[in-house]
């Protein structure tokens, strides 16, 4: 099998597995929608995308969305994890209290703004960009109806799941919603080892995954490494419940973020593990290490590093 053949097989495998093989619920219905028209960031069978938090100079607002789309294309990305702040209108402003702005946002979400979501999806579709996941930090201020509305909106965007940095308690509460929409709920780790509610290591991931078969892990290699976790061992054991990896580098022992290859995260090994096992795990590039370069240039360096790792 040539590398090209492998790529073809892998894209079919990735597409099918994301929808079908991963979930015990309605997520299977998503399978057809996953096949990409223009999958420009499939490399050696590994599906890459970007966490656009990386564009640090760009405020994550609806006003900057067109710039975001342009940059993603410039960086050769075909897939993105889209933060809600790129999508939802902002109600905060002079003379509006935080509470009033929060209520307006809730009302907007519950108002079923179908056309708005479709318009956003169209912007990404036209640029050949797939919205893989919708990133939103749900907290105790969300009503059940609001959580349901968030999943419904994310589905209109074409997202296969909603993901956030919520802790275990909120994850438990959210876990019953994604199945209603044929989606998954992603849980993302940080490295706070002093908070019993935090998702920060294998044990806390396992607890979160136990709340529902629709819960998936997004393994953040930076934070997992900083918390002295073993990314390779985690993927070997739990790959069938991992939807994506936030790929970045950090040093152990709550160390700092570093450019790719300068930290302790086993980035090359993670990429090859995903490729060689044909796991349908999406790799979302993310960086928080400092750079003097423009973010587009830094993202390109990271992406090129990954391509070399898979060559």
């Amino acid at each position: 099998m040539t590398r090209r053949d492998f790529g073809r097989v892998a894209v079919i495998g990735w597409s099918a597995m994301l929808g079908l093989a991963r979930s015990g619920t309605a997520a299977a219905a998503q399978a057809g929608a996953v096949v990409r028209r223009n999958n420009r960031s499939l490399v050696g069978g590994v599906q890459f995308g970007l966490q656009p938090f990386c564009y640090h100079d760009l405020a994550m607002t609806p006003e900057n969305r067109s710039t975001l789309v342009r940059r993603l294309v410039q960086n050769g990305m075909g897939l993105v994890e889209l933060h809600a702040t790129w999508v939802e209108p902002r109600f905060a402003g002079p003379g509006i209290s935080a509470e009033a702005a929060r209520e307006k946002l809730r009302a907007w979400r519950l108002g079923n703004p179908v056309d708005h979501y479709r318009l956003v999806k169209k912007e990404f579709d036209e640029a050949g960009l797939d919205i893989f996941t919708y990133y939103i930090n749900v907290n105790d201020s969300f009503t059940d109806a609001e959580i349901d509305a968030v999943f419904a909106g994310a589905k209109l965007l074409g997202a296969r799941g909603c993901i956030g940095s919520q802790g275990l308690d909120v994850t438990r509460r959210m876990a019953r919603f994604p199945g209603r929409h044929g989606m998954f709920l992603g849980v993302h780790n940080h490295d706070n080892l002093s908070d019993p509610d935090a998702i920060n290591n294998e044990a806390s991931f396992v607890r979160a995954l136990g709340f529902s078969p629709d819960v998936r892990a997004t393994l953040d290699t930076r934070h997992f490494t900083a918390a002295n976790g073993d990314c390779i061992q985690f993927l070997e054991k739990h790959h069938d419940r991992v939807s994506s990896v936030h790929l970045g580098d950090r040093r152990k022992n709550n160390g700092r973020s570093t450019p790719f290859g300068e930290g302790d995260a086993p980035l090359i090994e993670v990429l090859r593990l995903i490729r060689d096992n044909r796991w349908p795990i999406v790799v979302l590039l993310e960086f928080e290490h400092g750079t003097l370069r423009p973010a587009v240039e830094e993202v390109q360096l990271m992406f090129d590093y990954c391509k070399r790792a898979l060559s």
Partner: protein, 236 residues
């Protein structure tokens, strides 16, 4: 643009250089091809402080605490941090950078930077102080509109200023109007601007102490304290 710009940990790139055998025009380096001016901002007048700023950015501080110390997300606001306000020459900031803050209620703990050199850690601390002074100056100038309390100003002067200004306020106030007096309190012209490397100036301990002391005051003044001082000194 002929100002030196530091990239990649201190390597000087001259943006406009003249190479033997070539005309200056033909060797002008494309300015900041790899310098994110939109995020980092234009280079500072003081190249030493520009290097410190780039160190602050290079090690990722700016993504959480902001290039101009306007924090993002859950990060501490260094413009208002008591620890930064109490820090003298990095004595507190550097120790914190080395250890990080692993125990926290926040989502992400402050990382530790123990692998950085002393010089790098002090550069980060120096830039934090610089940026805080810039921020406080703007904040105080914007806020110091109302007339202050001269009695409170005198009490403050006696407590914080008199140890150096032993001749009292008469040696300071002269005939400045209130805004000029306020600006000279915040940034005494003789102590501000790009630091000189002239040996005589560098060895002037009194000047160095005065500069450090005024910068420390600037970082910790409240607008009311400045208004009170101006009221007291203007009344002399």
């Amino acid at each position: 643009m002929s100002r030196p710009l530091f990239v990649s940990g201190g390597l000087i790139v001259l943006l406009s250089v003249s190479v033997a055998g070539q005309s200056p025009a033909s060797t002008t380096t494309p300015a900041r091809a790899s310098y994110d001016i939109d995020f980092i901002g234009p280079p500072l007048a003081d190249p030493v402080m520009q290097h410190a700023k780039e160190t602050y950015v290079l090690f990722g501080c700016a993504y959480c605490h902001g290039v101009t110390l306007t924090p993002r997300g859950e990060a501490t606001d260094l413009r208002r941090s008591a620890l930064v306000g109490a820090d003298i020459d990095g004595d507190r900031i550097v120790a914190l950078l080395r250890a990080g803050i692993p125990q926290t209620a926040k989502l992400s703990p402050m990382p530790q930077f123990s692998d950085l050199s002393d010089r790098q850690l002090h550069d980060i601390a120096n830039y934090i102080h610089y940026a805080r002074q810039e921020s406080r100056y703007t904040q105080i100038v914007d806020a110091t509109r109302a007339t202050g309390d001269a009695a409170a100003g005198r009490a403050y002067f006696d407590q914080q200023c008199a140890s150096c200004h032993a001749d009292g306020p008469s040696g300071i106030a002269r005939s400045y109007d209130a805004p000029t007096l306020r600006d000279r309190l915040l940034r005494p012209p003789a102590l501000s601007g790009v630091r000189s490397f002239d040996v005589t100036t560098r060895l002037d301990a009194k000047r160095a102490t005065a500069r450090e002391r005024h910068n420390h005051l600037l970082e910790n003044f409240t607008p009311a304290q400045v208004a009170n001082l101006v009221a007291y000194l203007s009344a002399r």
